[in-house]
């Protein structure tokens, strides 16, 4: 789960990290009122989970009411890399002399969190990591002990932060690590940490992604989930409890097991089609879950055909087939052509049971995918 900037800043501020004054606005008038209250200059920042918002026009500075209105008008409702901007954060402009990067993430190779500090903040840190890796000081943290204070200092000194600001920056890093640990973050970062002309150290941006698997013990963050969804399909997947990722193609994909679903996507691509989504229906395939999965894929207007790929392990193919029949029988008309492939335990029995008035049946994965791809092509012709 990705928090919006404004949500992350609420969490950071509560933990004692200095952030600029700001207000969330969902309309142009709200944005202007917020700017007036905060005082100029302000930054108007699109609240979407898209990297490089600034370059894409999602952040604008405003020196006065007119500029604030223009900025809010330009940003609210804009399409930013496929996401519609529904709210902006209006934030006090910071007069900075220096920008740093401070963050914590999991180094999965090491199985340990890693704290990072760089004096090259304000730009894409992943580019810095690629082009100039020694510009990022890294400190691995033993998760049993947590981050020792010396590690925060070491990262800050190693990164070359001025001695004058080192204590404040180390303090932000320490708080970020504590939040990372206490709030089950998967990534947490401030980029940039701004050093103001007055020598203050302030978190000008905020990224906080939460481990979905740990949300059960972060009830207050889970409450932020609703506002963190980017669109209706994400919200629907969240409600149904599906692992779902929307892509840009037109072949809808439903399967069981992450690896097999990814493989199905890959095969759609391999056979010349374009996958519309990743949807893992998980173990079993009761009618209700099948119904929900079809609802999701059918609700995506981009989808022109659907491939349903189930490898029954412990689950028996005949039971899955019954579930699919039941689910599809609820529709008066099947909105988009569905190809089903069942494999594994009792697959043949299952294929026999499937109602071929409702679905097309293929025996191999390869054939099922090719059928769905050609169905999608037909629709587009």
């Amino acid at each position: 789960m990705k928090l919006h900037e404004y949500q992350a800043k609420e969490v950071f501020a509560e933990a004692g990290i200095p952030v600029p004054d700001s207000q969330l606005a969902e309309s142009v008038d709200e944005a202007v009122a917020a700017a007036e209250e905060i005082g100029y200059p302000v930054a108007v920042k699109a609240q979407v989970h898209v990297g490089g918002r600034g370059k894409a026009g999602g952040i604008k500075l405003a020196e006065n009411e007119e500029e604030a209105r223009e900025a809010a008008e330009a940003i609210l409702g804009m399409d930013l890399k496929g996401y519609t901007v529904e709210s902006v954060l209006v934030e006090a402009g910071v007069d900075f002399v220096n920008e740093l990067y401070v963050g914590v993430t999991m180094d999965r190779g090491e199985g340990k969190p890693v704290a990072m500090v760089s004096t090259q903040g304000g730009v894409n840190i992943e580019e810095v990591a690629e082009e100039n890796p020694e510009a990022i000081a890294r400190e691995h943290v033993d998760p049993a002990f947590g981050m020792h204070p010396y590690q925060a200092r070491k990262a800050v000194y190693d990164a070359g932060v001025d001695r004058e600001h080192s204590r404040d920056v180390a303090s932000i890093l320490t708080t970020l690590y504590d939040l990372y640990e206490e709030r089950d973050a998967s990534d947490i970062e401030v980029n940039p940490v701004m050093i103001t002309s007055d020598g203050d150290v302030i978190a000008a941006d905020a990224v906080m992604n939460i481990d979905d698997d740990a949300l059960f013990r972060q009830p207050d963050l889970e409450e932020m989930q609703e506002a963190a969804y980017e669109n209706d399909l994400e919200r629907k997947a969240g409600e149904y409890g599906f692992d779902y990722v929307r892509l840009e193609g037109n072949v809808g994909i439903i399967g069981n097991g992450a690896g097999l679903v990814m493989t199905t996507l890959d095969l759609v691509d391999y056979y010349g089609g374009q996958p519309a989504n990743f949807l893992d229906i998980g173990g079993g395939a009761k009618a209700e879950r099948v119904t929900n999965a079809l609802d999701m894929v059918f609700s995506d207007e981009n989808v022109d055909s659907v491939v349903f790929n189930i490898f029954g392990g412990i689950t028996r193919g005949d039971e899955v087939a019954k579930g699919i029949n039941e689910a599809l029988e609820q529709f008066d008309e099947i909105p988009k052509p569905v190809t089903v492939r069942l494999a594994g335990t009792n697959a043949e029995e299952g294929m026999e049971i499937l109602n071929t008035d409702l679905v097309k049946v293929e025996k191999t994965l390869e054939d099922a995918v090719q059928r769905a791809v050609s169905d999608a092509e037909e629709v587009n012709q």
Binding site: K112, D213, V245, N256, G257, L260, G313
Partner: protein, 289 residues
């Protein structure tokens, strides 16, 4: 004949009284696995499928002289169950549970470095030596005893590839699902090392996916240390950066590390053919044998 598990393996099932645990313990026993005990706090003294249940893993291990456990404990309690298992002198712990918080697993991973026990998983289908023992949820009927080792980050994809092999009459020594989480116990290199040492394994299938650098490390290991031929498959070629594809570990980072292409290239450079489809993987293995 196999690696890690065989018909001598004496298995404790942690969480044997839960829905999943009970069902799969039954399946494991039916397959012929030597399930000797269950462990569930507060349920000591009960029996499940005729197997005695103990309150603690220590009691189960001591009373039944077990050497492996399979963990079906729900994710919120699974980290603790793993620490409990690692505190005994078991040789092998197989964690089936999906959805263990990553930070819990980071602590378990630290603990793993302090003990001699091997962990497989979590978020994995388990391990099977066809005809002898299965520890986990793999469907026994699709496997057949033979001379191909299989190691995979994925469950159903494993079943797919195994069917492609079994359908051609190619059996398996042992198949291991190492799990789809970012932090896992046994990784590709560990499993490949075991297959390389196993005299009966004549070829190995390795099913990787996007995320992390395990496949790249495996490629380096294969190039340097393996004589046994390996065929690969990598899922997630079409995955966009920054999106978790089902598995917690299956994610291409924003900077573009962990891509399928990087893994395919590394494997190809190590002389490992990578199939475009599961069928092609079976073709490569057939060529090796």
């Amino acid at each position: 004949m196999s690696i890690l598990v065989d018909d001598d393996t004496r298995v404790v099932v942690q969480g044997i009284t839960g829905g999943e645990g009970k069902f799969h313990a039954g399946q494991m026993i039916e397959y012929g696995t030597n399930v000797v005990a269950g462990a569930v706090p507060g349920k000591g003294g009960q029996e499940v499928h005729g197997v005695p249940v103990y309150d603690t893993v220590h009691q189960a291990v001591e009373a039944e002289d077990a050497d492996a456990s399979v963990v079906f404990v729900p994710p919120a309690f699974a980290g603790d169950a793993l620490f409990e298992a690692l505190d005994t002198d078991l040789d092998l712990v197989v964690a089936i549970t999906e959805g263990i918080p990553t930070q819990d697993m980071a602590k378990v991973y630290k603990r793993l470095s302090e003990v001699d026990t091997r962990l497989i998983g979590p978020n994995c289908p388990g391990i099977i030596t066809p005809g002898e023992a299965k520890l986990g949820i793999l469907p026994g009927n699709i496997f057949e005893s033979g001379n191909v080792g299989l190691v995979s980050r994925s469950g159903t994809l494993t079943y797919q590839v195994v069917s492609n092999l079994t359908d051609r009459g190619i059996g398996q020594t042992t198949a291991i699902g190492i799990g789809g989480d970012p932090i896992i116990g046994t990784d590709f290199v560990d499993a490949l090392e075991l297959f390389e040492e196993d005299e009966d394994t004549d070829a190995v299938v390795m099913c990787g996916e996007i995320g992390g650098e395990d496949e790249e490390e495996a490629a380096a290991y294969i190039a340097e240390h393996m004589d046994t031929p390996v065929a690969g498959f990598i899922a997630g070629r079409t995955a966009p950066p920054g999106k978790r594809m089902g598995h917690a570990g299956a994610i291409v980072s924003g900077s573009g590390t962990g891509t399928a292409q990087s893994k395919i290239d590394a494997l190809n450079d190590a002389g490992v053919p990578v199939g475009d489809t599961p069928e092609e993987v079976a073709d490569h293995i057939e060529d090796f044998l």
